[in-house]
């Protein structure tokens, strides 16, 4: 009878991050890694799209990675991780216009999801056009919610 309780206790030790809050530093570093990861997948898509890398079979994988990462990224902007508190390229608008920010992330998720679906077919023109829309969703959000340098 005691065993499940012990297992449960062990689990808590094994995944401490789930019970404790991350530090703002770690959150910023982590979200940077997630955003960078999305960028890498987008770059890979761009190389495939231009024919530099003839691997159309990978499009669905990269698009799905961007779609899923965008869901995670949306959760990585908690209070206390804005430019007033810590060094970040995120604009204050992320926190002052949370609904718009959420919508921008959702737009990326939708566009990347549509690319996943299209990649299962063979309509290369539609795939190329959809790739453009994914890039647009990234850029639109950077426009409104990130400081470029």
């Amino acid at each position: 009878m005691r065993r499940p309780a012990i297992l449960l206790a062990l689990c808590c030790f094994a995944f401490p991050a789930q019970s404790a809050d991350a530090t703002p530093d770690a959150t910023v570093k982590y979200r940077h890694a997630v955003m960078k990861g999305m960028g890498d997948h987008l770059k890979a898509l761009s190389m495939i799209n231009k024919g530099e890398m003839p691997r159309p079979q990978d499009i669905a994988f990269h698009a799905a990675a961007i779609r899923d990462a965008s869901s995670i990224a949306g959760e990585l902007f908690p209070a206390g991780t804005g430019p007033d508190k810590i060094k970040t390229h995120a604009k204050p608008e992320v926190w002052t216009k949370p609904d718009e920010f959420k919508a921008a992330m959702e737009a990326l998720r939708t566009q990347a999801g549509a690319l996943v679906d299209l990649a299962k077919g063979t309509d290369t023109a539609a795939i190329a056009a959809q790739f453009g829309k994914v890039g647009e969703a990234c850029g639109k959000c950077h426009d409104d919610f990130r400081v470029d340098d």
């Binding site: 960078k36 960028g39 890979a44 761009s46 470029d148």
Partner: protein, 251 residues
């Protein structure tokens, strides 16, 4: 000073539209595709609002004078938020093409909104005397045609230096540091001289000019996003190559 060449040069409105794209005319003079003006550039020297340019009544010579000398038909100096400091480098055929395009803009009767908080006008005259060097881009016969084309595009219509060249205390471009990057707020701009682009291959640059995606997968935002969407992506591939060729030689 004025060449009054416009009648003599074949004018191509389609080419003019492409040039207007990299010149970013719409950024200040159009809102949501309507040429009503109104966009505000906020600087530490005041807030400058792009006027409506569809009902200027400009002649071809007036148009050229505005671009090359930064003066209205009445001879009044424009504030350099209108980047005539770069447009003055336009080639003659570029001005002709831009004029042809300009003449096609659908009229719009939106009234101009005034600039706010500008310095006294005599300071503008002083500024122009110190910082404005009018004159078209003179091709360098030692360099290739492609290089010269790139140089004209970058220094003239592209007006790249307006953001990528650091400015001095009175807001003039520091020519010795041309295209070496600027930390100016609110839109800092990176070093795009040869040294700043060492990590970018030619393919990276050409591809960035089309889709705004950098070599690390980063998608550009801010003002440069507009430059890519409305400017560099609408140029021909030869123009983009010419720009790369030129940037590679900027020290």
């Amino acid at each position: 000073m004025l060449a009054l060449i416009l009648g003599a040069v074949a004018q191509d409105a389609a080419r003019g539209e492409v040039l207007a794209g990299i010149a970013g005319c719409a950024a200040c003079h159009a809102t949501d595709g309507i040429w009503s003006g109104g966009y505000a550039i906020e600087t530490r020297f005041g807030t400058f609002r792009g006027p409506n340019i569809t009902e200027t009544g400009f002649s071809a010579a007036d148009f050229e004078r505005a671009l090359r000398e930064g003066r209205s038909p009445e001879g009044r100096a424009y504030w350099p938020a209108f980047p005539y400091t770069s447009y003055t480098r336009l080639g003659d055929s570029d001005v002709g093409d831009l004029w042809a395009w300009f003449s096609t803009l659908p009229a719009n009767d939106t009234p101009d909104r005034p600039h706010l908080g500008t310095p006294p006008r005599f300071l503008l005259s002083m500024w122009r005397a110190l910082e404005f060097r009018p004159g078209r881009f003179e091709p360098d016969p030692e360099m290739s045609g492609e290089w010269n084309r790139g140089a004209t595009l970058v220094e003239g219509p592209g007006h790249c230096g307006e953001c990528h060249t650091p400015r001095n205390l009175i807001g003039g471009m520091r020519e010795r540091l041309s295209l070496r990057g600027s930390r100016a707020e609110p839109e800092p701009a990176p070093d795009i001289s040869a040294g700043g682009l060492v990590d970018w291959s030619d393919t990276d640059l050409l591809s960035f000019f089309v889709d705004g995606i950098g070599p690390d997968g980063d998608v550009v935002g801010g003002a440069m996003r507009e430059v890519v969407l409305k400017g560099t992506s609408r140029l021909g591939e030869e123009d983009r190559r010419a720009i790369v060729t030129y940037l590679r030689t900027v020290e």
